[in-house]
């Protein structure tokens, strides 16, 4: 394979990966965020006590998280077809990726919010804050660095997951590696794919870390 051809293939696959990761990462996190907040605040004696619903949502989240991704991809094909009109291709791959992101990100958000010092909730209650004000002015503000790191972790995981959607013709870098590198036995393609993925993950992680650091005021030196 000529270098031009390889570059062309890599570039197209990279764009497909970015497309899938960006859409499913954003949509999945936007849906996962409120679910995570709900999980963290709806236990007994918490801000929005609804223990039964909390347990039910927790159960669904656990079920979704314990389903192997490749099985999820196949299992929800009818849903994917309903939403996108097709079950193959990049757009179709976004559906299972998004559905896998929601519970993953929700649990990370829940942990980030539960990590906020309970004393702050008490202080805000003592000020006469409503539960909503506590969520927005205290919990989300204080958990912001942790939530940014959770988002970074979600994106990195999605880059890995997106390699698996080659199974349904999702395209992307993983698909390229499997089809050319493995099935056609072209080790240089496999190597190029792996290098691009490593660089991509590094970039995402560094950007996420930097952003989280910017908002983390806990360990500032005077």
């Amino acid at each position: 394979m000529s270098p031009e051809m390889l570059f062309d293939l890599l570039w197209k696959s990279l764009l497909q990966t970015l497309h899938m990761v960006a859409v499913s990462g954003l949509v999945g996190s936007l849906v996962g965020l409120p679910i995570g907040i709900f999980l963290a605040t709806s236990g007994r004696n918490e801000l929005f006590p609804a223990p039964a619903l909390n347990r039910a949502v927790g159960l669904v989240v656990n079920a979704a998280r314990s389903t192997p991704f490749i099985i999820l991809v196949v299992a929800i094909i009818p849903l994917t077809r309903l939403l996108t009109g097709t079950s193959i291709g990049t757009s179709a791959a976004i559906v299972p990726l998004t559905i896998a992101t929601v519970p993953f990100f929700a649990r990370l958000v829940e942990a980030a919010i539960r990590d906020v010092d309970k004393g702050l909730i008490e202080a805000a209650r003592a000020m006469g804050a409503t539960p909503m004000q506590i969520v927005f002015k205290v919990l989300l503000a204080e958990a912001r660095p942790a939530i940014l790191l959770a988002f970074t972790m979600t994106i990195v995981s999605l880059i890995g997951y997106s390699a698996m959607v080659g199974a349904v013709g999702g395209g992307g870098l993983g698909d390229l590696g499997i089809r050319y590198g493995y099935q056609r036995f072209m080790p240089e393609v496999m190597l190029a794919v792996v290098v691009v993925l490593i660089v991509l993950v590094q970039l995402v992680q560094s950007a996420g870390d930097a952003l989280a650091r910017r908002f983390d005021k806990r360990n500032r030196k005077s």
């Binding site: 010092d117 004393g119 702050l120 008490e122 202080a123 805000a124 209650r125 003592a126 000020m127 006469g128 804050a129 409503t130 004000q133 002015k137 205290v138 503000a141 204080e142 912001r144 908002f215 005021k217 806990r218 360990n219 500032r220 030196k221 005077s222």
Partner: protein
């Protein structure tokens, strides 16, 4: 029902408002189900005078944290009434409780500042919650920063401030909505002694300048001794003693009070002395007497007179002079021969001068 008397320096500042700022009536609080409930508070009756600094002291687990949280409804009483400035806390709905809380400031042992907000923005938080606009917030927060001595630290984050500075931010935040009552939950317990004194001085100043009623809980007698005009001693969910601080400190009636006092007021005997104490005298023994000076006796040269009165055989073993709630208070432990003649002369001297005494025991 026992009400603390509004005497001395804690007299109500407004003529009409002689009703207490906070009233606890028959308060009980149980945690857990009925079968194996933990009784945190048991029959508390207490009044917090308007404009005064009232201290509630007790060991950890005595129930004082629960008690102070009943005032702003962070905890609900299982029985009894809490009345704050005429409003029964238990009868309020959520919205009513929130507006009451905006009139009550609270400071905490671990400050509870938002790490993501600067000092300025932390003080602004209760104002944002109450719905003030940016201009109003700016006009209020600046003077508060000056009041607590942090005028130059507005843009600092809590992690850039010392413990004492963090508590000053906490105090400014508690004052932001111009409350009528300040609750202090072990506010100095995480601070070193020097910082504790500066925070207490600030609270005292705020109480004097703003006429703000302060209710504080602590396990440190030092805190109560320094700023509280009234004190209640709480032990295992019950108030065992309450009244003006000076009276409680100079003449503690309850064992818990004595134990709490022992560490601060000079009433502690050295171990070697205490271990040799006998309750009854035998021939040749010396009697150990604690003399307490306060009020009229505090400024008289009574020790010298005592020595003259019973001869040169008086030994001074321990002593301390302190200030309690602004009044001088001294204790002196002396020993002299327990012979009928000397005892008789000493007792006549005490009766004549009005000196408070307590026989601690006898030593060989």
């Amino acid at each position: 029902m026992t009400l603390s008397t509004a005497a001395g320096s804690a007299a109500p500042q407004e003529g009409v408002a002689s009703a207490p700022m906070v009233l606890f009536e028959g308060i009980s609080k149980r945690f857990g189900d009925d079968a194996n409930a933990f009784v945190a508070l048991d029959g508390i009756d207490m009044a917090v005078d308007r404009g005064a600094i009232t201290g509630i002291i007790g060991r950890s687990g005595a129930g004082k944290s629960t008690l102070i949280r009943l005032v702003n409804g962070l905890e609900k009483a299982s029985a009894g009434r809490v009345v704050v400035d005429g409003t029964e806390v238990g009868g309020l709905n959520d919205a009513g409780l929130r507006s009451l809380r905006r009139e009550i400031g609270m400071i905490f042992q671990h400050f509870n500042l938002l790490s993501s907000r600067t000092a300025f923005d932390n003080i602004a938080l209760p104002l944002e919650i109450a719905g003030f606009g940016a201009a109003d917030i700016k006009a209020k927060v600046g003077p508060l920063l000056d009041l607590v001595g942090l005028g130059d630290k507005a843009e600092r984050y809590p992690s850039e401030l010392s413990g004492g500075q963090k508590q000053r931010v906490g105090i400014a935040r508690a004052l932001a909505t111009s409350p009528k009552l300040l609750l202090s939950d072990e506010a100095t317990s995480a601070l070193d002694p020097e910082t504790t004194q500066s925070i207490l001085a600030l609270l005292k100043q705020i109480n004097a300048d703003l006429g703000l009623t302060v209710l504080l809980i602590t396990h440190e007698m030092e805190v109560v001794k320094t700023i509280a005009t009234h004190v209640a001693v709480i032990d295992r969910g019950r108030i065992v003693e309450q009244g003006p601080t000076f009276g409680i400190f100079t003449a503690p009636q309850h064992e818990t009070t004595r134990i709490l006092l022992a560490s601060t007021v000079g009433t502690n005997l050295p171990e070697w002395l205490r271990s040799g104490l006998k309750p009854e005298p035998s021939a040749g023994d010396r009697v150990l007497v604690r003399l307490t000076f306060f009020g009229a006796t505090a400024f008289q040269p009574l020790t010298a007179q005592l020595v003259t009165e019973i001869g040169g055989s008086v030994n001074i073993l321990a002593g301390a002079i302190e200030e309690i709630a602004g009044d001088p208070f001294g204790t002196l432990v002396v020993a002299y021969p327990a012979t009928p003649d000397i005892l008789d002369r000493a007792n006549r001297f005490y009766a004549a001068t009005g000196l408070a005494t307590e026989v601690l025991g006898y030593v060989a």
